[in-house]
Amino acid sequence: MTSTVTPPVRTSGGGKDQGDGGARRRRLLPRIPDRIRHGGLPYLLLLPAVLLELLVHLVPMVIGMVMSFRELTQFYINNWDRAPWRGFDNYRIAVDIDAPLGEALLHSFYVTCLFTVLVVGLSWLFGMAAAIMLQENFRGRGLLRAVFLTPYALPVYAAVITWAFMFQRDNGMINHVLHDQLGLTDEPSFWLIGDNSFVALVVVALWKSWPFAFLMLMAGLQNIPRELYEAASIDGAGIWQQIRKITLPSLRPVNQVLVLVLFLWTFNDFNTPYVLFGDSAPEAADLISIHIYQSSFVTWNFGTGSAMSVLLLLFLLLVTAVYLVATSRGRKGSDA
């Protein structure tokens, strides 16, 4: 990732930063008080973080991988090391698309992909529009900025439970507007069950995530030098041309990170569907995280749940790797 921020001034050894560490270390050594040797200090500083990372991330991941090869049902929860080995059986069950379980997983994978594409795309669009429109100073700009960030700040359960109330069939706001006030539907629709639940889920997730896109893009826009716009408008470029020729290209590095982060968050989103639908989502809105949760904690089959988690992880790693290679190659090409 290249920096859009002006590199900080480093008088001592700023130029040597890219060079070998030895030169730098020699310069630093005399300045660091004797007793703590430079060699050990960074490791000491990192120690708490490394220990915690081990505890909350790395060990659980290894255990998760091991679990995915065992038959881990409720009988073995209390001493999972005695659960029988099953080799790749859990994986076979998870991806066997002819059997109900594999078919359901494939279905929820499709649903999650569609959901992610819609939510990420629209979030970016909304966030971009809001960031560009608030780039100029005008009356009410600060207020609007606060308004746009409110969904991001609200705790998920408080916000999503409000949406669940709005989507109620008989006493909700949505049906009141669509049916009673606008007369668009013949009778009040169900929003939290059946096919409509996908629409409800996308709307709520979009509402929740576009302010983050706005926040990131707003931060990115502040790094674009105003002189670029001035020069462009003197040259006669209209506002739309400026957006196309200056704003969008300058935001490339921000967009690269933003889209990736939005993708990962949306793909893994558990909170939104869980608060909206409870622990068994309707088929049309059966996101993969809920699906795994259900096969693990509701039907008590942790082995298959772990296998699904590992598959999900592999998929995300693959997509991320491809994405990073593709975007950084594209950028190199355009910069050259």
Binding site: V5, P8, V9, T11, P33, I36, G39, P42, Y43, L45, A49, V50, E53, V56, H57, P60, I63, G64, I77, A129, A130, E136, N137, L144, L149, T150, P151, A153, L154, P155, Y157, A159, I161, T162, F165, Q168, N171, H176, W207, L215, M216, A219, Q222, Y229, E230, S233, I239, P253, V257, N268, F270, N271, Y274, S289, I292, Y293, F302, G305, S309, L312
Partner: protein, 291 residues
Amino acid sequence: MPEAPARKARSPLAPPVSFLWTRRLVLTFLATFALLPVYVMVSSSLKPLEDVTGKFQWIPTEITIRPYIDIWDTVPLAHYFMNSLMVAGAATVLSVTIAVFSAYAVSRYRFRGKRIFTVTVLSTQMFPGILFLLPLFLIFVNIGNSTGVALYGSRGGLILTYLTFSLPFSIWMLIGYFDSIPRDLDEAAKVDGCGPLGALFRVVVPAAIPGIVAVSVYAFMTAWGEVLFASVMTNDETRTLAVGLQGYATQNDVYWNQIMAASLVVSVPVVAGFLLLQRYLVAGLTAGAVK
């Protein structure tokens, strides 16, 4: 932030009318979308129960603050509130403190394994929470069975699990933030006789306060709003707001007015804090994530 000069510089070439109208239209739409649930939350929290179980009304016919009184009795909301406060507070302090040390090490020193560390921390960000939930659940249950240390269901256990998302993000953001602080500052402090830790606490940390505030706000918000771990890892005693709010649905009725009132009560502190500190967050993102 270059706001004031920006306006000056662009005023002679005002944006075209088409842009102004598009802007009005788009901003109105987005503001309505953003605030609609807030309006529903506020207005419904002031209605009597008969009104929220009947047809929706934009303007309450009868305004009552009864729900705000009842929320504390229907479920032990104050207790959940305390639990959330303790868990989110501890997770925030812990992850930010630890992140300050490691971000300083990464930002200021060269050492073997630095890249492995940053890449590992960064990549754990992308893993689904569900991936850690299953093993952590099993680890906690088994530690409890074999040593009698009750991590499962305890606040301490929940705090630990919350570090899964706040710690990597804090480290990541703070590295970027520390990098933007000129190195001469802390090197000058070292010349003046500060040790490395002295330089960190007397120079780097004070200069990075906006970034640290931003990271703390983020860590607190995610812990305050977390649902997945809270719903699996807590028991009656340690339940947080995220799970406790479901208690307003009884077998006969869902007390929507009370749910809305309680949602508002638990939202106001974080939303107010966030909006007050949002400038720091934008600055923190500019230095940290956006690069």
